[in-house]
Symmetry: C2
Subunit: 429 residues, 2 copies
Amino acid sequence: MPTNPSSALSALGRRTTEPAISWLMKMALEHPKLISLAAGFTDNATLPVAETLDLAREVLEHARSGQSALQYGATAGDPTLRELTAKRLHRIDTGKTLRTLPPTHAPERVLISHGSQQLLYILIEALCDPGDIVLVEDPTYFVFLGILQSRGVQARGIRMTDDGIDLDHLETVLGELKRSGDLPRVKLLYLVSYFQNPTGITTSLARKRAALKLLRQHERAARHPLYLLEDAAYRELRFAGDDVPSALTCDAEDRVLYTSTYSKPFATGIRVGFGLLPEPVLSTVRRIKGNHDFGTANFLQQLLARAIASGAYDRHLKTLSERYARKSGAMMHAIQRHFPGNVLCRTPRGGLSVWARAPRSLRTGMHSAFCKSALEHDVLYVPGELCYADDPTRRKPNHEMRLSFGSAGEADIRKGLERLGALLQEALG
Amino acid sequence: MPTNPSSALSALGRRTTEPAISWLMKMALEHPKLISLAAGFTDNATLPVAETLDLAREVLEHARSGQSALQYGATAGDPTLRELTAKRLHRIDTGKTLRTLPPTHAPERVLISHGSQQLLYILIEALCDPGDIVLVEDPTYFVFLGILQSRGVQARGIRMTDDGIDLDHLETVLGELKRSGDLPRVKLLYLVSYFQNPTGITTSLARKRAALKLLRQHERAARHPLYLLEDAAYRELRFAGDDVPSALTCDAEDRVLYTSTYSKPFATGIRVGFGLLPEPVLSTVRRIKGNHDFGTANFLQQLLARAIASGAYDRHLKTLSERYARKSGAMMHAIQRHFPGNVLCRTPRGGLSVWARAPRSLRTGMHSAFCKSALEHDVLYVPGELCYADDPTRRKPNHEMRLSFGSAGEADIRKGLERLGALLQEALG
C-alpha cells in the first residue's frame, strides 16, 4: 500500500492554499515583458541604499556596538528601538513631545516583529480558534484573508464608505451575530485604517472612536473583549493631506491592537514591523513570538534605531512622499486620459495604489476574459475579487482592479494604463 | 459585569506558557554580577563585525545590487542563497562538487527562514494537529518542547546512548504506540543530530539510517509518512572530530526534513536559517511562511550569500572552531579540577555546552536548594529538567545541568566552575 504523502499534513497544512500572490508572480514570469501594476513592491529608485550603508558603518565600525548588533536580542525587541517607536508614534499621534508617555503609548507595550505581517499572524494565533469570526473591511488586505483562511477563521465583511468603515453596517452585522448567538466567536474588527489596501480610503478618528464604542457595547453578549486591530502599514506613505491620529488616542479600555511597519516606508528588504498592544495580548503574543523566532534579527533593528534617532528615517519619508506624489499623479493623469468615464477611481493621498471600479457588467477576475486580454497586452493588475472575503451574506464583487504605482516607473505606468484604457473602452464602450 | 480580558484568547494563546528562557533572563537581571553558563548566546568576541561591514559595503556600494537587497524577495528565499546552500550542503555531505545535484539536495528544495527556529515552528504547524505526538530525544532542545506544548502536541521521549538515539527504545515506543492505536497521531521523530542541545551527542549516520528504516516500517500502521526531522543547528560549530553526513544522504523515500542555520555559526543578530524539504511538506511550509512574513529579510540573505560565495563564511568557521576549542578546553579543565568524580561530563567536540550529570540524589531543578545556592554564588546554569518532555511514561530526570561555554569568557568559565564545583563537593561530598 503506497502511503499518500499529503496524509501526514495537519488540518492547517491542508487548509493553507496557494496564495493569490503566487498566481500574480506566475503571470509575471510567463509574460517577461509584463508591466506589473499588481506588485506590492515599493519604488526601487527610492530605496535608501547609500543611507543604509552609512547606518551599517555607524553600527559596525566600533566593536562594541557591532557585537551587540550581531548578537541575539530580547524577544520583544531592542529596548532603544522600542522606546524610539513609542515616542515617535506618540508625537505623530498628538503633536506633543512628552517625557512620560501615556499608558497607550508606553515603550513596554511595543513589540518588534519580522515585518508587521508576522504580528498580524501571531495576533490571529493568540486570539482566534478555528471557527471564530473576524470582521474585516469589504474589501480588505488579501494576505490577511489568507491568514484567516489558513487558520480556519471565518471573515465577515463590513461595507465601506469614503470615510472608512460603514458604522451602520457594522452595527447591523454585530446585531445579527448577537441574535444568532455567534458573537462569542467574534474576536476582533480588522481595519487597514490609513490609505487602505486596496481602496486607498483613510478612516477618520471619529469613525474609529465610534467603531470602538460599538464593539464595547457588544462585549457583554460576546462575553469577552472585542478588539479593534488597527493595521497602519501605509500610514507613513502619505503624500497629500494631514495625518489622522491612531485609535490608540481614544483607547481608554485597552481594546486597540495597533500594528505598523518600518519596512514599507524605509526598505522592504529590511523587515522590521512593530505593534503596541495591551495586556494580556502583549504577553501572549510575545510568548508565541518566542516560539516563532525568539526575536527579530537584531542587526536590522539596530539599523532602524539609528535611522530614526539620526533623522535619516524622517528625511527618507520626505523623498518617498515626493516620489509617490509624482507617480500617483502620473497614474491619475493617465486614467483621466484613457479610462472611460464610468470607471471610477479615487485620487490617492498615500499608499501604493489606485482602486478602479468598473460597472458591474465588467468582470475583472483572474479567470475573466478582460484579465486574460490585459495579460495578452502585457498588463497585470490585482483583480478586485481577491480582496473580498468568502462571505455567504453577499455576492463577491468582481468588477474592480487594484492598480499599483509602487514599483512601476512613470513611463510604464503611462503605457500600462493606456493599454488598459483601450481594453476598457472596448469592453464598456 | 467586568469582562475578563484573558477570555478573548485562543486555546493556543492560553496554552502558550512563559518560556524557560524568561526565567533564566529574570535570574540574570536579578543578579547583576552573575556568571551565566546558561545563555545560548554565541561568543561576542568572535562575531564578524568587520567582515559584515565589508559584506554590507559590497552589497550596497552599487545601486543595482543595493536596491535588490533592500527590496522584497520571494517567499522561498533568495535564489542565489538557495543554490549556494544546496551546493554547500551537498559538498559537506559527500565531499564531492557536482554540477547537477541529486534530488535530495536540489536547490528547489531549499527554503530560507528567519532563523531555523521559524522553520521548526512552521514544520510543526504544517504537520501536527493538537493531540498529535512527536517523538523527541530525551532530553531535547527546550524551545522545541515549548513549540509542541503551545500547539497542543504531545512529546514522547526516546532514550539516548552515547552514539545518538537508542534504537531499541525507539522500536519499543513505536511498538507500544502501534498496539495502543496511537501511531496515526505520530507525525515525526525530531533529532538534534549534531552536538545535541543539551547533551552534546552526535548521531552516527548508521543510526540515522536505522531510525529512518524503523519509521518506514511503521508507516503502514500510521497510515501516513513518518518523517525524520533532522535539526542540524550546531553542525558547523565543530571543533574536533569529523563531520557526519546528514540523513539526506540516505533518504531514498523523501522522509527527511533537514533544518539548519547560518545564524549560530556566523552571527546570531543576522537571522537566516534554512531547510531542505521534500514535497508536499515543502509547498505547505512555503505557503504558511507566506502568511507569516512572505519571505525572510532580503538584505540579510544577500549578506550571507556574499559571505558564502566569497569564502568569508568558511574562514569565519575556522576562527570559531579555534575559539570554542579553547573555551571548551578551559571548561573541561576546570571541571576535572573542581568537580567531584561522580559528576559525569562528556568532552564536547562541537556545539556550545557541556552536559553534566550528577548522581540522582542531587536535585538541580529551578526550585532546588542547589540551584538557589548556585545563584547566591552568582552562577547560573540551565537546569536539566527543562530539557525533558512531560512524559507520563517516566519520571522527569532532575539531576543534570547544561553548562554553556558560548557566551562567557574563559576567566568567567573558570571562576563559575570553581564555585559550582565547591557547591557540588559540599552537596555530594
